[in-house]
């Protein structure tokens, strides 16, 4: 999602190679590129200026350590500043209060408040909280029904309200309901409003006063442009914001709004919306975002996701197998493919790899990669267990049968068997130790990644 910014910075860094010291002269171009990149990423101009000034001040006169190139030294400064700007550490929701803990959602029209409310409810429900969803959006037709439908999908309690009611009455009644039914958390969705709409801003201030929320979350679209600073400023002046949810980050927006909003409100970014589906809400990790911008990849997120979705037992079995030097067979191959898919497919996977690796792999369309993976799985499924365990027995006649069973050409079966052989070699290399060796061998040989 932030590849473009990443790519730009990589370019800048190349130009800085071979200099012994960061000086006014040699970082001038680099700073200009950073400025342009940030502007194109929709970071608001005042924020960009501030940021550039900081980076310049900190970078100037910095001696380049022997172990670092000037480019690396510069990147380090940019990285540190970016992380600082995005708020240092990840801050979780603070629900430590006498229940019900109220979460108030606020934002512009179409920023994704209702969807985020439901996603948040799902997340809290997973943490064994009893959640009540309520909506005071009496303005947009069917907004309340939208939340109601989502609540039903999630099997979460929903406080019914209708368009004839006043938002303040809904707030009072919902809070009362949450108290009497011992809900741990009340998530209160509100109508989208413009920061310059004084009547509407007064309304949400009143709601805030009534509900006394422990968390007031500002929901902002990652595609927002320069105006993010204005709306964020107005909202943070009207409400004591405790956090920000950045939505629609699965698009190709560069997400510069994250920097702007953080800079203006001072409130930490708590969650990011990464899919239309209900599980598409992830905790925001500033240090990861910063390293991602700089092309270091979001490896930590990837590992976390892997832990969540990959069957640990199966993974362990495979690891044992590799260690014990036993043959890596087609069953294992299939299992790996399935796990990759469970992690969100090739696209999600590549999105999180460090830039160099992603570029090496990136010449392929992830969508195509996914399709290739599905086909491979189909072909393996058409084999008998004996064939999967011992692919050597697959000769012409068996190949024809498998091809017919999977609905593919015989050539594709051949290709799969060849790829599998490569994979087997790689696994042997891995068992002999040396991930580096494996990475070199992997260049262009991953199943479905180009041929």
């Amino acid at each position: 999602m932030l590849e473009n910014l990443t790519g730009r910075l990589q370019q800048v860094i190349k130009q800085l190679r071979g200099q012994a010291r960061l000086t006014e002269d040699n970082i001038q171009d680099a700073l200009r590129e950073v400025r342009m990149a940030l502007l194109e990423a929709d970071v608001a101009l005042p924020v960009v200026r501030d940021f550039i000034a900081h980076v310049k001040e900190r970078a100037l006169g910095r001696d380049v350590l022997q172990s670092l190139t000037p480019g690396q030294a510069f990147i380090q400064v940019v990285y540190e500043e970016l992380t600082a700007l995005m708020g240092g550490q990840n801050t979780a929701l603070n629900l430590a209060t006498v229940p019900p803990a109220v979460i108030l959602m606020a934002g512009l029209q179409g920023s994704g408040k209702t969807t985020s409310s439901a996603k948040l409810a799902r997340l809290l429900k997973q943490q064994k909280k009893k959640v009540l969803l309520a909506s005071a959006d009496v303005y947009r037709p069917a907004a309340i029904e939208q939340l109601k439908t989502l609540a039903a999908q999630l099997q979460t309690d929903f406080f019914p309200s209708d368009r004839g009611q006043k938002p303040r009455d809904i707030a009072r009644a919902a809070l009362d309901h949450a108290r009497r039914h011992f809900h741990d958390v009340l998530i209160f969705d509100t109508a989208g409003r413009l920061a310059i709409d004084e009547a509407m801003m007064a309304e949400i201030k009143e709601l805030h006063g009534l509900l006394q929320p422990v968390e007031t979350l500002f929901v902002v679209d990652a595609m927002t442009g320069q105006d993010a600073v204005n709306s964020a400023k107005a909202f943070s002046e009207a409400l004591p914001l405790t956090g920000v949810i950045l939505t629609k980050l699965d698009g190709d927006a560069r997400g510069g709004a994250a920097l702007s909003v953080r800079h203006v409100t001072g409130a930490p970014l708590k969650y990011i919306g990464v899919s239309e589906k209900m599980d598409g809400l992830e905790p925001f990790h500033p240090e990861r975002m910063a390293s991602r911008i700089l092309g270091m990849g979001d490896v930590l997120s990837l590992i976390e996701q892997a832990q969540k979705n990959v069957d640990l037992e199966e993974a362990k079995k495979l690891a044992d197998k590799v260690k014990s030097g036993k043959a890596f067979d087609l069953e294992d191959f299939k299992m790996q493919i399935r796990q990759m898919r469970d992690m969100g497919g090739m696209g999600a996977f590549m999105d999180k790899l460090p830039i160099q690796m992603a570029q090496a792999a990136g010449k392929v369309n992830p969508e195509e990669g996914d399709r290739a993976l599905r086909r491979i799985e189909g072909i393996i499924n058409a084999m008998t267990p004996a064939e999967r365990r011992n692919p050597d027995i697959i000769k012409a006649s068996r190949k024809r049968r498998i091809a017919a069973g999977a609905g593919v050409q015989v050539q594709e079966v051949n290709r799969l068997l060849n790829q599998f052989e490569e994979m087997q070699k790689m696994m042997k290399m891995l068992s002999k130790g040396g991930l580096g060796k494996l990475m070199r061998a992997m260049q262009g040989r991953f199943p479905g990644w180009g041929r």
């Binding site: 929709d42 101009l45 069917a142 939340l147 439908t149 310059i196 442009g225 320069q226 629609k248 927006a253």
Partner: protein, 318 residues
């Protein structure tokens, strides 16, 4: 130009509380404030220097015009200065405004629905851009012009999107074709057929919001377009991409992606009544000049107005 619509405003005052120009100006007031105040301050000196250029650059950038369009616009006035066609800062400012108008002028092509009956309009856009709200306003507008309108609730994905349209349709006396869940292409196919049978003038098809990176959803919408063509050869006659004025440079990517997939024939720029500047239109004019059919300048049903380049940049710089 300004005088013209001031007069128009007075003459229409009786039946409308505010003229559209006033609404637009009110909507763009913030834009004007940011663009105007600092410039006027700068211009008091009247000298053309680097500080002036830098300030102008900042103003354009902060209006979301984007790096490329901003540089192009400034380059243009700069060359005029070097030819000494511009003497002082005031002249420079009006030259900049003219450059902006010239850049936006090709986008000023109003939508004409008379060419076909039924005229099929398909609305597309990212999530939360304002498609469904725009449909409401558009249907009202067309009905006001004496056309019969049918709306197809093609957003079968988002919870209660159909209810939103139906609730709105009931209030405004517009027939909404919908079905629970199911295939959006089928819903729209039915709507087009029913419009043909009933002799309806305009069919407006809603679609679910989607991000251009969701390739399967982009395939789905291509299919919807194909299916509309099957119901009525030559349709859809208009593919409108709805853009949120709050969007930054990503709007350019959206235009490219949707245009590549669907051949977008017009744009609608919504939510111009906030503090957002909508300057990204300039960036779009530079990279993919697709006509801007309408701009949304308020939440009221009549707040959908035709785009006029001169007035837009006038209001932007006034």
């Amino acid at each position: 130009m300004f005088d013209i619509f001031k007069k128009k405003h007075e003459s229409t005052k009786l039946d409308q509380p505010l003229s559209w120009a006033e609404r637009l100006k009110a909507g763009l007031a913030r834009t004007r404030d940011t663009l105007n105040t600092p410039i006027s301050e700068l211009l008091r000196g009247g000298k053309i220097d680097d500080a002036l250029y830098e300030e102008l650059e900042s103003l354009l950038l902060m209006a979301d015009c984007g790096v490329a369009a901003t540089q192009a616009l400034l380059e243009e006035v700069r060359s005029q200065v070097s030819r000494s066609a511009l003497k002082d800062a005031t002249a420079l400012r009006s030259a900049l405004r003219q450059a902006m108008t010239a850049l936006l002028a090709p986008l000023e092509q109003p939508l004409d629905t008379r060419s076909h009956t039924p005229f099929v309009i398909m609305l597309v856009g990212v999530n939360g851009a304002g498609k469904t709200t725009t449909i409401g306003k558009l249907a009202w507008k067309l009905q006001h012009e004496g056309k019969s309108v049918l709306v197809a609730a093609g957003d079968t994905f988002r919870a209660a999107a159909r209810e939103q349209l139906e609730a709105w349709g009931a209030r405004n006396n517009v027939h909404v074709v919908a079905s629970t869940g199911g295939d959006p292409a089928a819903v729209i196919f039915d709507a087009v057929n029913s419009a043909k049978a009933k002799g309806i003038d305009v069919v407006i098809a809603d679609t679910a919001g989607r991000l251009p990176t969701q390739l399967n959803l982009m395939e789905e919408i291509k299919k919807i377009r194909r299916v509309i063509g099957k119901a009525l050869p030559g349709a859809p006659h208009e593919v409108l991409l709805v853009l949120d004025a709050n969007t930054g440079q990503n709007a350019v990517m959206q235009v490219k992606a949707f245009d590549d997939a669907l051949k977008v024939t017009g744009l609608v720029l919504t939510k111009l009544d906030g503090t957002a500047k909508g300057g990204v239109i300039a960036a779009i004019a530079k990279t993919r000049p697709i006509p801007v059919r309408y701009i949304g300048v308020g939440e009221q049903i009549e707040d959908l107005q035709p785009f006029r380049a001169a007035e837009f940049s006038e209001a932007l710089f006034a």
